[in-house]
Structure formats: C-alpha cells, structure tokens
Symmetry: C2
Subunit: 343 residues, 2 copies
C-alpha cells in the first residue's frame, strides 16, 4: 500500500472514531433517561435494607475492591447510609452536556471517624489544549476526627496544594512548600502499602487539572478540525520532535503530586460497575449469607465444630471478612455465576 | 426490620432487576442499530490496512490477551484478514430476539496451519430450567494441517464428544470413551500451561449445553412468574435442602469436559472490548510504531547502538514481541492515556 493511501485510511479512521463517540454519547444519554426512574425506585426499596451499600461494595470487582482497605470497609459497614451516582451535565441539560461527567455522593450517619455526613465528589469530562481527554476533579476535604485520618495526611495535603495553586493562579506551578509536601508524601506512600479509599476524595487528575474554560476552547478547536476533515480538507497536525513532546508532556504532568494512583478508573468503576450492578452484588452477598446459614446447620447436626455451633450469622462479620466471602464465591455451587452480569 | 418487611424489599429488588434488564436489552438493540452503519464504514476503511486485526488483538486488554499465546499471535499476524462481530438474534429479528447472542467470525488467508479460511462461532444467550442464564455455543472444528494442531487434540476431542452426545440424545451423559478422552485431556492440560486461543472454538458452556427448546420453555416460565409477581401475587420458590442443591448442580455441570476455562468471558470480551475499541487499539499500535521510529533516529544520531542502526521497523516483529510493546505502552509519554477509552 502506498503511504498516501494509508494516510487516507487513517484519516477515515479518525473521523469514524468521532462518529462512534457521538453515538456512544447518544446511547449514554438514552440510558440515563431510561434508567433514572428505576434508580429512584431502587433507592426507595433499599432504604429498608440495612448495610445495603456496604454489602454491595464488598462484592465489587477486583479493580474497585483493590482500593478498599479493611479499615475503609469498617467505616462503610458502620456508617454508610447511601451511595448515589448521577451525571451532573445531563441533569443540567444543554447542547454540549457530556454524559461522561459524574457526581458520586456518599451519605454517612454520625460517626466516630469524621465530621461529614455527606462526601460528594464531582468528575468533569474535559479536553486539554494538547488533545488529552479524561476526567478531572477538585479535591474534597474529609473532616477527620482527631487521630482518625486514614489517609495519613495525604488528603489534607492535596487540599492545601490545591488552595495554594488556585490562589497563585497557576494550577501547574511545580514549587512551594505545599507542592513539596504532597510530593514527599506521595513518594513516601508509593513505597509502602496501598493507602485508604478515602484518599480518592483528594484526587485531581490522571494527567493534570483542566479548567472548564480550557476545555471549552479545546473542544471548540477540536470540533472545527473534525468538521474541516469531514469536508475533505487536509488538516495539518503540527510536527513535533521527540524532545519537545517530552518537555510538553512533563509540563502537563502532575503525577508527582497526585495522591491517588487510579482516581479516574475508580470513579468510572463505581459509576459503571457498582452503581448499575448493585442489586446483583447485594444478592451475591445474601446468597453467601444463606450458604453460611446452611453450613452452621450442618455443624449442628454433625456436632464436629464447636466454634461455629449455633452461632448466629452476623452480616457485619461477613462484610469485614473479605477472604472468607471471596473464597466461598469462587468455589461454591452457583451463586457467583448466577448473579454475574452475562453481557 | 421484621423478616416480612425484608422479604418484601427483596421481592421488589428482584422485580427491579428484571426492569433493569429490559432497559439494558433496549439500549443494546438501539446501540446495535445506531452503530451498524459505522461498523460497515470501518470494515471498508480497514481493508486497505494490512495486519489491522492482528495489531488490534495485540493491544487487547489482559482479560483477552491472556488467552492469546505467541503461536496464536503468529497465525493472526500471518493470516488473519478480517474479524466481524454481529448479533444474530437481532439480525434475524423477532419479538424475543436477545441482543446478547453473538456471532464472531474470523477470516483467514490460505495458510500453512489449517484448511479453513473462515472460522465462525455463534453464542446463544439462553436460560436453563434451573434458572441459570448465560451463553452456550456449539464447538467449531478447526481443520488443522498435519502436525499443526495448537490445541493438542483438545478441539477435535470436544467435537467428538459433542457428536456422540448429540447422537445419543443426551447432552449430559457423563460416560463413554469420548467423555473420558476429553476429561483426561482437560485434566492433563489444567496442570500445565494455558492452551491455544483456538481451543476456544471448541467451547460449549460455562455450565452445560442448553437447547433452544429448553431455553424457550424456561424463559416462558420465568416471564410468567415475573408477571404474577408484578401483580402482587406471592410466587413460592421451591425450598431446597443443601444436598439436593448439590446433586442438582453436579448433574447440570459439565466443567469436567469443558475445553476452555473462560469461553463466555472471551466471547464477551471480543464483542464488547475488542470490536468497539478496535480503532483505539490499532492507533495505540501505530503510536508504538512511531515511537520505535523515533528511537531508531536517536540511535542514528548518537551512533551508540549498532544493533538498531538504520533498521526498518517491521510491524510483524512488533506484533510478536509482546513484552516490549507492553512495556513501552506503560512508560512512554501519552499514547496509552490518549488512546484509552475514557468512559
């Protein structure tokens, strides 16, 4: 194939990708509209079920579960009252509303760990001027009670850096004591064990913060380019040598001071796995509980296991004992397969 | 909460799950309809690009990639001409058409490995009379040339067992030399390394084969139960003790003779990851290639690396050298992030 022919095909593919994304957005809008009344019904039904969301989160798939530590699970089991995922841009309406922006709201009862009864984090789907697209979010402060901060200072440090940069008017300034503090903490924790789920509330971006203004301008430029390409005009991309590319990347990269390694993946996971499949995950948890009941009955009959004899099943214990529930999920008859989302 | 109240909530949740699934199906139908013309356009655009699908499959996510061995990759790189995913029940139409049934078609050029130029596998979304739902598929024979069978006899054994059972009229008969042969092969291979991607063509079910007739009857019964529940009637589920449950499960379980450990996951992965994201994965592969070009240029300038000096980039080599491409994906500037599906 001649290089020119290949070039034409690649241009075709880029335009096609844009058409696919438009259809995706349309489907997401339709889905949001059609499922909204069902989610309202679900919210009503589960108010009568204690520990619903704590049980759901325990059954979350590994890509989410890996970010929930036992100490986080304890807080969910003791205090989490409700979890809600909405699409703020769709709710606000407007022609350019992105169905990919998210709002994730946790409601807690009064508790010993923090002052907040609501922790709500918004994620905006934005385009940077260099072409990067993804979610960005402002850090949300968790008001930990004394000695309770599971993030070991990381959450508060992220807030301080955010405030300092906002005040300075430069969201990318890589200096100052706030920057150094977060950088040191991030470096320190990367060597150690995974940090608390609550660190996620301090997350900003997988790349760097992108403002609404920058995103709107970049989006406009992108749309214009697409329209020109559709008309068959040749749109030149600026040629870049590798050195410039690297410099530009470094200047646009905030990973040194990003407090959570996978904030976007976790947000999308909660919105697209946990939220739509909550009843399935809850049912799995219930089935595990029933199986535990059966096992305890067996123990009674056979009288060969003093430990479990006649002991009532405590949902809380199940919630906290991850290894146990997980193991039962994978080797018992049926429930994991039955409850699994088939497609 | 009283046990009765809880029971009511659980019934509500089961009904809600049914409503969610209906909406899911509607969305899937809509999506199929809206994307169909785009997939047709894409098929035309990529005919001009050599090795398109081989490159796409190399960039597939780990849950798919883990089932593709280097020897499979070689066949894809040398011979795979086209890959197509369709939804046969939607194409056939009808009120009960499930959007979850799949047809996955691989087209190959004449090659040294097998006689087939088309390998096509259909997956039917079915409900068993015991409530299990999932995909089932008839095994597809790959006509390997002499000494080339990458499945080490497993594919052919699966076909023989299938034919024997079909002839005997009992798809669950756990005896006979065909059953023993497959069981022995499966046991043998489970101890060893993962088998070829092509073994997947012999896959039948994650549980057991379910015929169209059984599924239609089970589906009818299920719909009736749902309708009665919606009217507020109390629908009794048969009480089962654990022993019966286990016996029933064993009788309905064909895992002893299932030749592929994750046939359903792989089919859904190809249909819902590889197929819709093919252009993204291809672009990733292209960007890796470009980065290799740049590296070679560097080598020229610095003249410190005889090995790579002036060497042209061979896509084939890239395709086959997984470790290398994967590593570059995760540590280079940008491409993996840029090309990633954001939501």
């Amino acid at each position: 194939m001649a290089a020119d022919e290949a070039q034409v095909s690649y241009e075709d593919l880029a335009l096609l990708e844009d058409e696919f994304e438009e259809v995706d957005s349309e489907i997401m809008r339709k889905q949001y509209e059609l499922t909204k009344p069902l989610y309202t019904k679900r919210a009503t039904a589960i108010t009568k079920i204690p520990s619903f969301w704590a049980l759901v989160l325990e059954q979350a798939p590994p890509e989410i579960d890996q970010f929930i530590q036992p100490s986080d699970s304890r807080i969910f089991a003791e205090s989490l009252l409700n979890l809600t995922v909405t699409r703020p841009e769709l709710d606000a309406g407007g022609a350019d509303a992105s169905p990919r922006s998210l709002k994730i709201r946790f409601e807690f009862k009064e508790n010993e760990d923090f002052e907040d009864t609501v922790l709500e984090k918004e994620f905006w789907y934005r385009r940077a001027k260099d072409g990067w697209v993804g979610l960005v979010s402002e850090p949300v402060k968790v008001h930990w009670k004394k000695g309770k901060d599971l993030t070991e200072g990381l959450g508060d440090a992220a807030i301080k850096l955010w405030e300092a940069r906002k005040k300075g008017g430069d969201m990318l300034k890589k200096e100052g004591k706030e920057y150094d503090e977060v950088k040191k903490l991030v470096e320190h924790l990367q060597g150690g064990a995974s940090t608390s789920f609550f660190t996620w509330f301090g997350w900003v971006s997988g790349r760097r913060w992108v403002s609404a203004e920058e995103s709107a301008a970049a989006q406009k430029e992108y749309r214009e380019k697409i329209e020109r390409r559709k008309k068959g005009e040749k749109v030149e991309e600026p040629e870049e040598d590798e050195e410039n590319e690297e410099e530009k990347f470094a200047a646009n990269d905030d990973s040194d001071v990003e407090v959570h390694e996978a904030g976007e993946e976790l947000a999308i996971g909660i919105a697209e796995e946990v939220w739509p499949n909550a009843i399935k995950f809850f049912t799995q948890a219930q089935e595990i509980e029933e199986m535990s009941d059966l096992e305890f009955e067996d123990d009674d009959e056979e009288d060969d296991d003093d430990e479990a004899e006649g002991e009532p099943v405590d949902i809380r214990a199940l919630v906290q004992d991850k290894g146990k529930t997980r193991k039962r999920m994978s080797d018992g008859p049926g429930p994991s397969k039955k409850a699994k989302k088939a497609s």
